[in-house]
C-alpha cells in the first residue's frame, strides 16, 4: 500500500454508506416478506389446481363411493356431533382451552 493508495482509499471512504442502516435493512426484509408471500400463494394455487384436477379426474370413481359411504356414516356423524356438544356443555372451560386462552 503506497501513500497514493492510502489517499485513494480515504477519498473512496468519504462517500461510503453508513455501517448500520436499519431503514434499508427493513426495506429489504419487507420486500423479502412480500416475495415469500407471493411465492407461498403461487404454491398454494398450484396445489389447489392440481387437487381440483385430481378430484375431477377421479370423480366417476369417487362420486358413487362417497354417496354410498355417506348413507352409512350419517348416523355416526350425528352421534359424534351430539357427543361433542354434550362434552362442551358439561365442561365450558374446554371452549376456552380450544380457543387457546389460558
Amino acid at each position: 500500500m503506497t501513500k497514493a493508495d492510502d489517499r485513494l482509499a480515504a477519498l473512496f471512504a468519504e462517500d461510503a454508506p453508513p455501517a448500520r442502516d436499519p431503514a434499508f435493512t427493513a426495506e429489504v426484509m419487507a420486500a423479502v416478506a412480500r416475495r415469500r408471500l407471493w411465492s407461498d400463494l403461487a404454491g398454494l394455487a398450484v396445489a389447489a389446481l392440481i387437487g381440483g384436477l385430481v378430484i375431477w379426474a377421479l370423480w366417476p370413481l369417487l362420486g358413487p363411493a362417497i354417496v354410498a359411504a355417506s348413507a352409512g356414516l350419517a348416523p355416526i356423524a350425528a352421534a359424534l356431533t351430539v357427543a361433542l356438544l354434550a362434552w362442551l356443555v358439561a365442561d365450558p372451560a374446554m371452549v376456552h382451552r380450544l380457543r387457546g386462552e389460558s
Binding site: 489517499r7 473512496f12 455501517a19 442502516d21 429489504v28
Partner: protein, 180 residues
C-alpha cells in the same frame, strides 16, 4: 446468538428459512454492496435500488451458494450483473447518459472537495468492468482473485484493469503513477 454468528452460520440458518439470519446478513453486507454499486453506477438512488434487488435475488438463490464461498463477493457479483443489465436498459435512453454527474448527490459533508470531484469524474470515464475492478480492489480491499470470482472475469484481466484504472485515477488527482 445471531448477532455473534459468522457468515457460514448465518447462511446455514437463512437456508433453513430464518428471516432473522438473512436480515443479519443484509445488515452486515449492505454497506459494502451499496458502496460498490454507488461507485460502479454513479447514481446513488439507482445503486440503492440495485442493492435491494440484489438482496432479493440472493434470498431466492441462497441455496446455490457454496458453504465456503465469500458472501460479499457473491453479493457484489449479483449486484454487478444487475448493474450491467441496468446499463443496457439505460443505453436505450441516450438522454440519460449524461446524467451520471448531474444525478450524483453531494457527499456526506455537504460539499464535495475538488479531489472528490476529480475522482468521481475520472471514475465515471472508466469502462464499466474497469470501474468495477477498481471499486472492489482499491476501495473495498478485495483481493484480485476475489474480485475475479465476483465479477466473473479472468484474474489477469482484473489485474490489468486495476493497474490501468489506478493510473487513471491517480493522474486525475495529480499524483505521479508509481508501480506500487
Amino acid at each position: 446468538m445471531i448477532h455473534a454468528a459468522g457468515d457460514p452460520e448465518l447462511l446455514a440458518a437463512a437456508r433453513a428459512g430464518s428471516s432473522a439470519a438473512f436480515a443479519r446478513l443484509v445488515e452486515r453486507h449492505q454497506q459494502g454492496l451499496r458502496a460498490f454499486l454507488r461507485r460502479t453506477c454513479g447514481d446513488w438512488a439507482l445503486a440503492d435500488d440495485l442493492a435491494q434487488e440484489t438482496f432479493l435475488t440472493a434470498w431466492s438463490r441462497i441455496g446455490t451458494l457454496r458453504e465456503d464461498a465469500s458472501v460479499r463477493a457473491w453479493l457484489c457479483g449479483i449486484g454487478y450483473r444487475k448493474h450491467l443489465t441496468a446499463l443496457r436498459t439505460r443505453a436505450r435512453d441516450r438522454a440519460r447518459d449524461t446524467a451520471w454527474q448531474a444525478e450524483k448527490p453531494p457527499s456526506s459533508s455537504g460539499t464535495m472537495t475538488d479531489e472528490r470531484l476529480a475522482l468521481e469524474a475520472a471514475l465515471g470515464e472508466l469502462p464499466a468492468d474497469q470501474r468495477a475492478c477498481v471499486a472492489l480492489c482499491l476501495a473495498a480491499d478485495f483481493s484480485h482473485a476475489e474480485a475475479a470470482e465476483a465479477l466473473g472475469l479472468p484474474l489477469g484481466t482484473v489485474k490489468s484493469h486495476v493497474t490501468r484504472g489506478r493510473a487513471r485515477l491517480l493522474q486525475a488527482l495529480g499524483e505521479d503513477h508509481d508501480e506500487g
